[in-house]
């Protein structure tokens, strides 16, 4: 059999593509996923990491709210190691209308979201960082989810089921026979090599870039790119998600995640051409700080770690070129019935929370085309790292490791951390002190999770995501990477790219302690290490 032949080709290595690949692989298909960059580089890795309860959408979009709460409960089961069950608060401040709270709670309950009005005093005890002036509070089952980990776990599972992944590979065109897509032309962006792959069905899961992919296939999808800017604070100020109980607006969600917390977001329509180079403006930074401090006043004196922005893949409801009817819902297009193009499906719209449902819809469409009748099992089958063993048992099984390594690794790798049992003392040494990432965890990621550079490694292990933003760990990790792929010249360039990428998120908020840290880092790399 031709090794370049598959049952289905998936374009896009974000959460939708990874989830679709997993679902297809679970239904017995031979899958290939193609991503022009690394996993989770688009909107997947550039959001709050909020495990929505759906409450945010309850008043305006009942359908999204119902999808969210269903998926929320599913992810707690199948992706336990990617999820923190923090709960969430919707707070009413003196300037907000308390009457909204009643509507909000009724709509939440109608959607199946357990929303409970609690006394503001109880809310203050539950979350001491919350604005003490609050006049109302509703508790909902929000949480946080690590999108990088979730994406990597889906892809790893697909690979364990025989799926293949090509990262840093760009689709340059479609192989088309008459009115049928038969495969794709690709180019590896690292080696320049070109390769053709064949499959009876191709799924376009490229997020906002799906518009270009569709154009390449000769069909049109109307996308409406909306930039969202966010700020990461250097401390986990809150342990409970804090939202404003009012109509959704800018900067009204504060999500705790790992060692940090994230405030966001803004929403600005941008031209499609700017999707590849979004930057956070000073006005957005000011707005996020001002509004964020209303949720948790201590944010105004908390160090900001970085600013970043993502682009939401909003889609006009089908065939509405005016864009008036923008949907945040899931859009699954079979281009055969829509455009007369066979063998091509687009899955877009939606959100991180509903990726599994999107994958299910796309996979159902693929199976229909292939004449396969097999039910979706992704809602019941745990992802690698969240299997039936308890995290506690795994942490105990690596009891010889220092306690920091035990905790941090189990937290990030879930039950996969039991692999670290074979570690020796050398593997226990910390590479990243801020996030407590050990040599062993880095080597495990390099071996198993398709890492080809430091930024890839960061997305899979949190190396360089902490307070020092890569000051110490970048160089250490570069040493380990150079050892694994053996090319120092390449690693030298990689190190410079990594530091520049970190700096890109630092300088928009470059004052106070951030500037102190930056001065130190820049001085050390330039004058001591000699980059």
């Amino acid at each position: 059999m031709n090794p370049n032949e598959f049952d289905v080709i998936i374009i896009g290595g974000g959460i939708t593509g990874a989830g679709t690949q997993r679902d297809c692989a679970m239904r017995g298909l031979r899958t290939l996923l193609i991503e022009r960059s690394d996993i989770a580089t688009g909107a997947t890795g550039r959001n709050h990491g909020l495990l929505h309860s759906g409450a945010r959408y309850a008043v305006n979009d009942a359908e999204s709210a119902e999808e969210c709460i269903r998926e929320n409960m599913i992810l707690r089961r199948i992706a336990a190691h990617c999820v923190s069950e923090t709960d969430g608060l919707f707070i009413t401040l003196p300037e907000d209308d308390l009457a909204y709270q009643q509507t909000f709670v009724e709509r939440c309950r109608a959607a199946g979201i357990g929303a409970e009005i609690i006394d503001p005093a109880l809310a203050r005890r539950m979350e001491p960082s919350v604005n003490p002036d609050l006049i109302g509070a509703v508790k909902v089952p929000d949480g946080s989810v690590d999108p990088f980990r979730l994406c990597a776990a889906n892809m790893l599972d697909a690979k364990l089921r025989g799926g293949q992944v090509r990262l840093y590979t760009e689709v340059t065109g479609f192989i088309r026979e008459g009115d049928t897509i038969k495969g794709v032309h690709t180019r590896n962006l690292q080696t320049g090599e070109t390769e053709d792959y064949y499959a009876p069905v191709t799924v376009n899961a490229a997020g906002i870039w799906g518009q270009r992919i569709a154009e390449m296939a000769g069909v049109r999808i109307g996308m409406f790119p909306a930039k969202g800017a966010l700020l990461i604070f250097a401390h986990r100020v809150n342990n409970v998600v804090i939202n404003r109980c009012r109509k959704p607006a800018n900067a009204d969600i504060l999500v705790p995640g790992d060692t940090v917390c994230i405030i966001g977001t803004t929403s600005t329509r941008i031209p499609f051409e700017e999707c590849d180079s979004v930057a956070v403006t000073p006005d957005e930074v000011n707005l996020l700080i001002t509004e964020g401090a209303k949720l948790a006043p201590s944010l105004s004196s908390t160090r900001i770690l970085r600013a970043y922005a993502g682009v939401r893949p909003l889609v006009s409801a089908d065939d509405d070129p005016s864009g008036r009817n923008i949907s945040r819902g899931i859009v699954c297009l079979d281009h055969e019935s829509r455009d007369g193009l066979k063998g091509f499906i687009s899955i877009t719209g939606g959100k991180l929370m509903t990726y599994r449902l999107m994958a299910e819809m796309a996979t159902d469409a693929v199976c229909r085309k292939l004449g396969i009748d097999k039910a979706c099992e992704t809602a019941e089958t745990p992802l690698p790292g969240s299997d039936e063993r308890s995290f506690e048992a795994v942490a105990k099984s690596i009891w010889e490791a220092p306690s920091t390594v035990q905790k941090a690794a189990t937290f990030r790798m879930g039950t996969r951390a039991s692999r670290l049992k074979e570690n020796d003392r050398y593997d226990d040494a910390l590479v990243c002190e801020c996030e407590e990432v050990s040599v062993g965890e880095i080597n495990a990621a390099i071996e198993r999770l398709d890492v080809s550079n430091l930024t890839d490694l960061r997305r899979r292990t949190r190396v360089g995501m902490g307070t020092c933003q890569g000051e110490f760990c970048a160089c250490r990790a570069a040493g380990l990477l150079a050892g694994s792929h053996g090319c120092v010249e390449r690693e030298r360039a990689d190190l410079a790219d990594f530091l520049t990428e970190r700096w890109k998120g630092n300088f928009p908020i470059g004052w106070g302690d951030t500037l102190r840290e930056a001065e130190y880092t820049q001085w050390v790399y330039k004058y001591v290490l000699g980059i």
Binding site: P402, Y426, C475, R492, A496, R516, W523, V524, G530
Partner: protein, 372 residues
């Protein structure tokens, strides 16, 4: 408490001023918050282009011997930088191709030394390299804790077993004419690195590790000791909280630890460093000097503070306090008559005095001469 001169900041600039003033018969106090840029000192004196006897003598009297070898220094990632003056155990070479063949040696499990980068950098210069690891069970206690394999902790152990390291290197060496080792020797003095050099039949080069810098911490300790031997009062772990200034004259400063006991003096030297050391502070709107509220030379438009390219020179590094030719900093354009700003708090406002270690020493001497 009263002194002739109060020095705020205990890094290279503050210590240079303190030692010089004590030697000239003044009574001085240094208020030091703790760490300073000597903790990541490369071992070479940036922007010192000559070998001023005054500098060499000051260091020699503290037990620190310098050598003057105009050329280049080897940096951690296998690149080279220009240098002229260096600590005796920090090598300078006339050209980058300083050897024919080099053996790069690291200690197993030490991730703060980049032997593969060094080897590749040297091979670019035509120096053939072999990289080897030494396994020493004596370092195992450090591995009990995952963050103990750092330069200074290693030096504490390796200084006691340097002869064993020499034996191991002698076993590994073949026909190499150079051996590169990490700078993890000589925490108390340069004698151990110098003994290692003599005991290995090739040119031994100590290359910098990730901070902290072992020769930097040693330099700090030796200058500190020299300052106290000369009778200086070094207030460690304290910070100036506020200053009393009248008619452009500083009368006293209060520290955090001795709130009610003011330090009064005829002269004051401000050697508090730049952003990292908190000599300068910044908000989204402004850059300011936190103790005296001195005039700072900076751009009011924050968008011009940075270059998006991390590797390019960053404009914010130029920012510094404004001074008159005698290094008196100013408030509202009016110089403070008995205050002197020295070291990196000057930013690039005084390019005539150099940068880095050169600026620290040159500006300290300028202030000392004006005081005396």
């Amino acid at each position: 408490m009263r002194f002739d001169t109060i020095i705020i900041g205990g890094g290279l600039a503050g210590l240079t001023a303190g030692i010089s003033l004590q030697k000239a018969g003044q009574s001085t106090a240094i208020v030091s918050a703790g760490q300073n840029s000597l903790h990541f000192f490369s071992g070479t004196f940036e922007s010192m282009l000559g070998m001023p006897p005054r500098v060499v003598d000051l260091f020699a009297e503290a037990g620190i011997h310098l050598h003057y070898t105009p050329g280049v220094r080897l940096m951690s990632l296998g690149t080279f930088g220009k240098a002229f003056l260096a600590l005796e155990d920090t090598d300078l070479f006339p050209t980058e191709k300083f050897a024919r063949k080099a053996l790069v040696v690291n200690f197993a499990g030490f991730n703060d030394f980049f032997s593969s980068f060094l080897a590749q950098g040297l091979e670019k210069q035509g120096i053939a390299c072999r990289v080897r690891l030494i396994h020493l069970p004596e370092l195992d206690p450090l591995r009990q804790s995952p963050s103990e394999m750092r330069s200074v902790h290693m030096a504490r152990i390796l200084d006691g077993i340097w002869e064993k390291v020499v034996q191991e290197v002698r076993v590994l060496i073949k026909d190499e004419d150079a051996v590169i080792l990490p700078q993890v020797f000589g925490l108390q003095g340069a004698d151990i690195p110098m003994k290692i050099r003599q005991a290995i039949p090739a040119r031994v080069v100590f290359a910098a590790t990730m901070p902290p810098s072992v020769p930097g911490i040693r330099t700090q300790m030796m200058l500190h000791r020299r300052y106290e031997i000369l009778g200086g009062t070094y207030l460690m772990g304290d910070e100036v909280a506020r200053a009393h200034v009248h008619d452009s004259v500083v009368h006293s400063v209060a520290t955090k630890n001795m709130d009610q006991h003011f330090l009064t003096g005829d002269h004051f030297i401000l050697a508090t460093g730049r952003f990292f050391a908190k000599g300068l502070a910044s908000t989204p709107e402004k850059v300011y000097e936190p103790i005296f509220g001195l005039d700072v030379d900076y751009s009011p438009d924050r968008n011009t503070w940075y270059d998006a390219d991390f590797l390019k020179y960053q404009p914010y590094m130029r920012f510094g306090v404004k001074t008159d030719p005698q290094l008196h900093p100013m408030v509202g354009g009016e110089p403070l008559k008995n205050l002197y700003a020295v070291g990196s708090i000057l930013g690039m406002t005084r390019p005539d005095l150099g940068s880095g270690a050169g600026l620290a020493i040159n500006s300290a001497f300028t202030a000392v001469d004006n005081i005396l």
